[in-house]
Symmetry: C3
Subunit: 261 residues, 3 copies
Amino acid sequence: MNYFLKDIPERTQKPRQSGCTMVMDKGLSLRQVEDFLSSAGAYTDIVKLGFGTSAVTPNLQEKINLYKEAGIPTYFGGTLFEAFLVRGQFEDYVRTLHKFGVEHVEVSDGSIELPHDVKCEYIHKLSKEFTVLSEVGSKDAEKIIPPYKWIQFMQAELDAGAWKVIGEAREGGNVGLFRSSGEVRSGLVEEILTKIPSEKIIWEAPQKTQQVWFIKLCGPNVNVGNIAPNEVIPLETIRLGLRGDTFMDFLSNKNFEETII
Amino acid sequence: MNYFLKDIPERTQKPRQSGCTMVMDKGLSLRQVEDFLSSAGAYTDIVKLGFGTSAVTPNLQEKINLYKEAGIPTYFGGTLFEAFLVRGQFEDYVRTLHKFGVEHVEVSDGSIELPHDVKCEYIHKLSKEFTVLSEVGSKDAEKIIPPYKWIQFMQAELDAGAWKVIGEAREGGNVGLFRSSGEVRSGLVEEILTKIPSEKIIWEAPQKTQQVWFIKLCGPNVNVGNIAPNEVIPLETIRLGLRGDTFMDFLSNKNFEETII
Amino acid sequence: MNYFLKDIPERTQKPRQSGCTMVMDKGLSLRQVEDFLSSAGAYTDIVKLGFGTSAVTPNLQEKINLYKEAGIPTYFGGTLFEAFLVRGQFEDYVRTLHKFGVEHVEVSDGSIELPHDVKCEYIHKLSKEFTVLSEVGSKDAEKIIPPYKWIQFMQAELDAGAWKVIGEAREGGNVGLFRSSGEVRSGLVEEILTKIPSEKIIWEAPQKTQQVWFIKLCGPNVNVGNIAPNEVIPLETIRLGLRGDTFMDFLSNKNFEETII
């Protein structure tokens, strides 16, 4: 911190298991990556090259290297895994990961129908040489998964070898964990948390109100994802109680009248 | 592409007549233009310096030159044409285009009442020395133009010498082609396409759902415009079926069960 | 202006008392600040380092210096003042301002309950060595302050030594001056303006429709704030009548038929 403030919640330190911020890069140039790292790199734990953007981003290898030199791993969006899979090119996908030196991989079924045991086999296979993030939840707003199924899927995917499971929300924050209005399916989240440890989940929460909701529920060191690069510093202030939304939440003394000079 | 994927829709190549992406620059600095070009330049066909921003943007000539060196023509937003016209400064406008070496020009009547034959005269006159983009549709949400009028205007403007016609949506995507909610006036678009060839139209579609709608209707090589600089790469993935929204649309084999290992 | 247009409204010149644009920087990197200054610096009067972002922004001193060298003062968001106050660290806050060479300070009570006379004492005390911006309005959407109270607060804060008072809207533009939909509380604003001179108020107006509303009501030289860095040039065109929204508002001759060639 640039100045001393009492009674600021303690943040976990890198490499973090909880309190992670996962950022979505959907096509930054190399210099934009440098800009991002110089402002928000310290608060970023992992970067997703969103959906299939890595297919068409120039200087992909240089970009991955820039992040790696800053100590931040990258992975390709789950949609890309699905795009290879649906074309019968799973082996090509693994070769692509090797080629670019990417050590994390997302396994998802947001756009395809994949029997859950088959999904878990992919997680298991990939977990032997990669750190696997697996995603639960459909990108299809019509497809409602009941809470007990979310829990069952998450537990099975962690058992299969996933490092963490991701709760789907898309870039817009309007499916999966959220209603089309962006409102959190709070009952769903609370039920999930009765069974799955918070630190094993990354909640996609691209909208500020969603980030606030998770931080209020789980505390400053909740894992959130799909954060836009220019929202990482604002998010950090929400975690620390330095934005209006959580200003009072982490104060030990909420009655400050005696502190006024 | 940075890796090989089967069954990816074929994109047209520059210089494109269809499949064009028109980007709106509303005040980028020179270095931001460089950043943009280094990531998304290959997927950008033409850049509009939005509305009257060129009046107050520093280093305007250098900016136009930067785009030109990257093979991307620029033009001033139609509102600027109207601003000169309404002040009786049409000749000054032509001189301004010459001075800055701008070779494309938009003719529009989004903010003024212009008899349509007079608009076509301007198109005709300017088309002798410029590539003309003419825009149909009002910026006034109250002013509903019936479909047969859209068709009649578009045809007359093409006949007058317009290279392409633009369907109005504004930066917000909430007028003209769209309802105030951003929803596409789908009947309008479908009726237009019965009469005007798709490649002669650039659809302003700043919102993702709008881009998806046009790509689903017209295919990967539809012309779309008013794209924000940082949305060009995401748009390219929608064209290629590498984002959830169009993931299944361009796959020849939609039943992929046999491809799963 | 990059070309001559007749009948453009006259803008005030720096250092401005009216017509100010207050920008919210919520975590730009140093190079992003340079980019911003090179495009929009001439149209920016003051920069707020939003809420508590200054706590976690790297290179804070260098950033403040960059703005200062461009002739643009910075100040910390009012939430930071409140964060120090609530912890009994008011003196630390003053030391922090000195340490970073910040000469403007915001006094607000958006997240805390502060008796109004105590707030005015802070304004008075700080105004002896800083230029004080004081903010009226709660960040809590539930807390509706009636118009006569807004006026009473604003007048008392100006009397206590505030250079200008700020009408609260947050970054989202959905509280204080605005309904949760973002719509302006127009009756409130009009009533305020019967008592408080327009040039003494900075209206937080992050959304375009809000900026347009204030410019239509108060003219091109209204003070507006919480402008995103990349919206400063678009805002300038709204002030000048070079965007569709205010195209006709500042034209002396609204009947231009004789001007058409």
